[in-house]
């Protein structure tokens, strides 16, 4: 009986974890091709410490002569993150905080 319970629990957890593997848990969103149409262009100038975006936006970040485009879609408990966590390695994005405003898509009554 005990073995059966353990096997059942193990199989249930396996199903759960397989399912969880399909869930989008990327904390900040996803990179998209730099040629994709962006809803906002954010230019990071020398000395800048932050950028403001809205959740659900596709944003083109321009840093010096480099750029990359990112669809911002954060976990519900993420209001801000460091730009260098999503920037390609050849983009100098250290020290920039991205502040994320709530999406108008799910604005409450």
């Amino acid at each position: 009986m005990k073995l059966k319970t353990i096997l059942f629990a193990a199989s249930f957890l396996t199903v759960l974890s397989a399912h969880a593997g399909e869930i989008d848990k990327s904390p900040y969103g996803a990179a998209v091709p730099d040629t994709a149409p962006a809803e906002r262009v954010v230019e990071i100038r020398p000395g800048d410490r932050w950028a403001n975006v809205t959740n659900g936006e596709t944003v083109k970040f321009v840093v010096g002569d480099k750029s990359f485009t990112y669809h911002v879609w954060t976990m519900p408990n993420v209001n801000a993150f460091d730009l260098d966590k999503i920037a390609p390695a050849d983009v100098k994005a250290a020290g920039i905080t991205v502040y994320v405003a709530g999406s108008a898509w799910y604005r409450n009554s």
Binding site: P37, W73, T74, A80, Y99, G102, S109
Partner: protein, 356 residues
């Protein structure tokens, strides 16, 4: 017959191509809501939309070239505890508009949120949902939330500054009767956000062949919101001034506590102080509010609320919330949530929220 079918298929393909982006989106939210303190408080019940009103919407954008685009939104609310529509005989009660966007900003026509409501959603730690909603004491109700027959203009953001104007025609024989207008200006740079909004609603009713002109005058709301995002905690502040008839409608228009029926204030001040932040894997929300009724009835109230949202994924969350109101001098404020008026001065929500 086959040629007709091919022709129709061709048209469909062309339409799909021209419409560069269309999305179906929505919220399904259900939970247990328990209310206490009112004479008709039902105790515990299954409710829809306590944290975020359940809805389904369609949204589209077509890029027109030269930086211009057309956009639309059609959104309807439904109660998933029973399956009924939020509003009878109204298919898109929540939002319905079409507009153009360009370097000038965005202009839209239809049924839309007011500048004041957009401010309250942005600065309330509960985003106007859960038992702790700003709606408990602030006048975020009815046409203070959204209006029909509305033209809006939203400016682009320049160096963190943006603005919005809204005008809603009363569409009565008297041009000023029933009309509403408002505006907002905001500043958001890095962790700081500040926004000021104004809302002006005329409640007159124009005369008809069979009824005389009804004069109520106008209600005015001026609201200031501010927030500061620290690495782990966000501080929230909202202050409101409400003056005139209809400026502060009560959510529960019955007589929730018995005795003399509460009077909707025509001169009040509202204050919210709150915070939201990361605790464990989720977000903790807290606010305390005060309503200062400056009429002779002096029906003041104070409240506090706390909530926790535990994300299972980007789209699914479990939540729990609790709020309590102290009414004074016969005030009739109730603990609401995002979809219901509430019937008592204490409310508890436990629920499951999914967005798609």
């Amino acid at each position: 017959m086959k040629k007709s079918l091919l022709f129709l298929l061709g048209l469909s393909a062309a339409a799909a191509h021209a419409q560069s982006q269309v999305s179906i989106y929505g919220v399904v939210d259900a939970g247990i809501v328990a209310e206490r303190g009112g004479q008709n408080a039902p105790g515990a019940k299954v409710s829809s939309g306590a944290a975020s009103a359940s809805r389904i919407g369609f949204r589209g954008t077509e890029h027109l070239g030269n930086g211009w685009s057309a956009f639309f939104t059609l959104e309807t609310g439904a109660r998933i505890d029973s399956g009924v529509l939020d509003a009878g005989n109204t298919i898109f009660n929540r939002q319905a508009f079409v507009g153009l966007q360009g370097d000038f900003g965005a202009v839209a026509l239809g049924r839309q949120y007011t500048p004041m409501h957009i401010l309250l959603v942005a600065f309330d730690p509960f985003k106007t949902g859960y038992a702790g909603t700003v709606k408990n004491l602030f006048p975020d109700i009815g046409t203070n939330i959204r209006t029909s027959n509305t033209i809006t203009w939203k400016s682009p953001s320049v160096h963190g500054v943006d603005g919005m104007l809204a005008y809603s025609a009363g569409e009565q024989s008297d041009a000023s009767a029933g009309r509403q207008f408002g505006g907002a200006v905001g500043y958001a740079q890095g962790p700081i956000a500040v926004r000021l909004a104004y809302n002006h609603k005329n409640s007159d009713v124009a005369a008809t062949d069979s009824t005389p002109f009804v004069s109520h005058g106008s209600g005015r709301n001026t609201v200031l919101g501010a927030s500061y995002q620290f690495p782990k905690v966000k501080l929230h502040f909202i202050y409101g001034i409400d003056k005139g008839y209809g400026s502060t409608p009560l959510w529960n228009t019955g007589n929730p506590y018995g005795g003399v029926k509460p009077i909707a204030s025509t001169d009040g001040r509202d204050l919210l102080l709150g915070l939201s932040g990361h605790v464990g894997p989720g977000t903790l929300m807290f606010s305390t509010m005060r309503k200062d009724d400056r009429t002779t009835f002096d029906q003041d109230a104070s409240s506090w609320g706390v909530g926790y949202n535990y994300p299972l994924s980007k789209r699914t969350s479990l939540y729990a919330a609790y709020a309590h109101i102290d009414n004074k001098n016969g005030a009739g404020y109730t603990v609401n949530n995002n979809a219901e008026a509430g019937s008592g001065n204490t409310g508890t929500n436990i629920g499951l929220l999914h967005t798609f």
